[in-house]
Symmetry: D2
């Protein structure tokens, strides 16, 4: 594709601002394109879970990685279509260093017609010494096939 | 135990208010005691992911379940000790009904000396028709054994 | 449905015998119907991981729960259609008691048009004191929509 | 370390042969050292799940990745100590190509005092086009601290 269409810019803005809890974190949009994305959350005192350690709360990392995985999948689609998270797993390797921003990179490892998979890594200094890893699966094009969405019940 | 100690009340307050992104969601504390907890997030227009559907964003459910699982584990401890999430998995079964509050219940399924497991279910009307399920593992007493925390690197 | 159709009996047999690694475990078919299933693996000395403890190897529990989750989903379908596992998570709470059979129960918690979710619990004495828990997501009817399977690559 | 100690060779042998269900798969040991491992399972007709497709059964991949993750962690330890799987997640991206061997590579992404994390990828032709991904967490040195194992119940 030669040009980022409108919806991708809209996506970027929504990612940087998003729903209130993402907005509250001050997530910064670095880049997200063609199934690969990078976001950043600067360290702030009010994001700390335990004041004794100064470590960013695990829940902040969760929200951050969750937003990033969704953004990466949306950026891999050729058209703007709703996606639905099927599931998400996060592994927390170690506390982030107090006072440091946390950055995360995501990559779609598979984009099929219906399912996409994403992996992401969060880190303070280097992706080789990760703070957390995420794996997620998404259902795509949920509005294309009437009755095909996750919410429908078995008859 | 005959009486909820101070730290459990503090925990309850922190859960209801929490770090900014949890606070931004307006999570309501219902109850959390002895490894079992219930939280509630009222529907609000600004928590909606896709305005076309009115469905609460998946990321809100993620944050909500993450907070709840941690609260349930803390309430299972006989003393106030730091815990660290090892990992978290969330399955998203279907969209929550637009306009409805989402409630979630968590239960510790195992509390060992070092590791605790929690399962949680989020729903709008009944836990038998879940919106999402969560499974998480936590490391406990991370301050008891010097050098035992997740953050330490292999020498 | 009034009668188990042929393919369900075939399923039962395949579950009890299955591919070589399941067959090698001596998995016993207890029941599997309408999205709910129970399998059993008797304790055998050659299934033990560490001879010092006599505990059944974790890998045996993995294979056992994996087979069970797939069987539960197949039994929930109204027609015989291929299914594909999207993902599987297993939490290992504690070692099974040496010398005891391990039984596991699975239940489909959601069956949509395209995705099904299953949860299972493995135990030696009671499901209230689990050895392991499993959560899995499956894609269904993979042969109905040409090109819709997981294996297809994005063009 | 200058030389692989005896227990590592023993490990290698056990991995190549292992408990019956791993043995039944004909898993081949390629290499496992210092937290990094590679195993291989040749295609065989009796490992096929659905005869119509010739694709190796998903359960074979599960068992294979489970064995590999454990082997990678054991090879990262400086002494021979028991390990216990805390949890395992496997994402199945696509069917393996019929007739092809499946190879898998695992790497410990974090080795702490108590917890180790591993990620693995299974593929037929290239790790860049994966068949499946695995993420797992392990508890280490379970025999060092009496009463510290996962199996102990909270008093």
């Amino acid at each position: 594709m030669t040009e980022d269409p409108f919806w991708k810019n809209e996506l970027a803005t929504r990612m940087a601002q998003g729903v209130p809890h993402a907005l509250a974190l001050g997530i910064e949009f670095v880049s997200v394109k063609d199934g690969v994305g990078t976001l950043r959350v600067p360290w702030r005192e009010d994001l700390v879970g335990d004041p004794d350690t100064g470590v960013i709360a695990g829940g902040v990392i969760t929200t951050f990685l969750d937003q990033l995985c969704g953004a990466a999948v949306m950026s891999a689609l050729s058209e703007h279509n709703p996606i639905a998270t099927i599931d998400l797993r996060i592994d927390y390797m170690r506390p982030a260093e107090p006072g440091c921003a946390v950055q995360a990179e995501a990559q779609c490892t598979k984009v099929g017609k219906n399912i996409a998979f994403v992996r992401a890594v969060a880190y303070d200094h280097s992706p080789d010494n990760p703070v957390a890893h995420a794996s997620a699966a998404f259902m795509m094009n949920t509005n294309r096939r009437p009755g095909a969405n996750l919410g429908e019940k078995k008859s």
